[in-house]
């Protein structure tokens, strides 16, 4: 029987929602308080879901140490306590949590090979969450 394993991680980062191709007024109208030029931050929570058959020798879909190492190295070390606007993933994309969710999915899809990546879910606050399971067009 296939099992789907979900692990939750946390990081904190700042961002500013701003699109250089829009005017100052359009940016304010689109992003409101999130367009504050000084930026603001969130405590993000990331759920990573992987799936596969359970290995009879270990009882596991994948070793959690491998998953933890990949998320630590590829996601947390990259984004935790940083400014998302300065990350290379957002050089040409607005660091909305939609784009962050897709970026984390794409990063882990490349970096984690021990089980199938089902889904990434990111909570920006306790009231907002975003999920991505692949197949969206890349951010322009």
């Amino acid at each position: 029987m296939k099992a789907h394993l979900t692990r939750r991680y946390r990081f904190s980062a700042s961002h500013r929602l701003h699109n250089d191709r829009l005017s100052a007024d359009e940016n304010r109208a689109t992003y409101g308080k999130c367009n504050n030029p000084h930026g603001h931050g969130h405590n993000y929570s990331v759920e990573v879901t992987v799936s596969g058959p359970v290995d009879p020798a270990t009882g596991m879909v994948c070793n959690l140490v491998d998953l933890d190492d990949a998320v630590q190295r590829e996601v947390l070390d990259r984004f935790d306590l940083g400014n998302l606007n300065l990350a290379q993933e957002f050089a040409n994309a607005v660091p909305t949590t939609e784009n962050l969710c897709v970026a984390i999915y794409d990063i882990l899809r490349r970096a984690f090979r021990h089980a199938h990546l089902d889904r990434v879910r990111v909570e920006e606050t306790m009231l907002n969450s975003f999920e991505y399971a692949g197949d969206a067009a890349p951010p322009e």
């Binding site: 029987m1 099992a3 939750r8 359970v54 020798a57």
Partner: protein, 136 residues
């Protein structure tokens, strides 16, 4: 189709060990979880069933019956137990959260007649859970 989820909690101890592997290999694979004296978790179980709403009762399933099945099949067998030593499925299988979710699925699935079992979710901690959907 309507989906109904019932939550239950149980506490149990376990450890991870594969007798076919060397002590060193077990330690490498399972780390702290390989301590033979065991360690424990407060597990949270979410059982989701699906079905059509009975026009007479307005229910997908009688929650009292679902609760009784959960108590009898899962909680009575696993709550405050050492999974490796007291639960038959884990005498010869490692009680990982994956295997625990599968064992609970196999215990519940044949007992649910009013509604069909859709998903078993087992939280080992608030930050780690496993979902199974049967063989589908």
């Amino acid at each position: 189709m309507v989906y109904l989820t019932r939550k239950a909690e149980f506490s149990a101890s376990h450890y991870y060990h594969n007798p076919e592997l060397s002590a060193a290999e077990n330690q490498r694979l399972f780390g702290k979880c390989n301590n033979p004296n065991g360690h424990g978790h407060n597990y949270t179980l979410e059982v989701t069933v699906k079905g059509h709403v009975d026009p007479r009762s307005g229910f997908v399933v009688d929650l009292k019956q679902l609760k009784e099945i959960l108590n009898r099949e899962v909680l009575d067998a696993m709550d405050h137990r050492f999974l490796n030593k007291e639960v038959p499925e884990f005498l010869h299988q490692i009680p990982t959260t994956e295997n625990l979710a599968i064992a609970i699925w196999r215990r519940l699935s044949p007992k649910l007649t009013q509604a069909k079992l859709h998903r078993v979710r087992v939280y080992e901690t608030p930050d780690l859970y496993v979902d199974v959907y049967g063989e589908a």
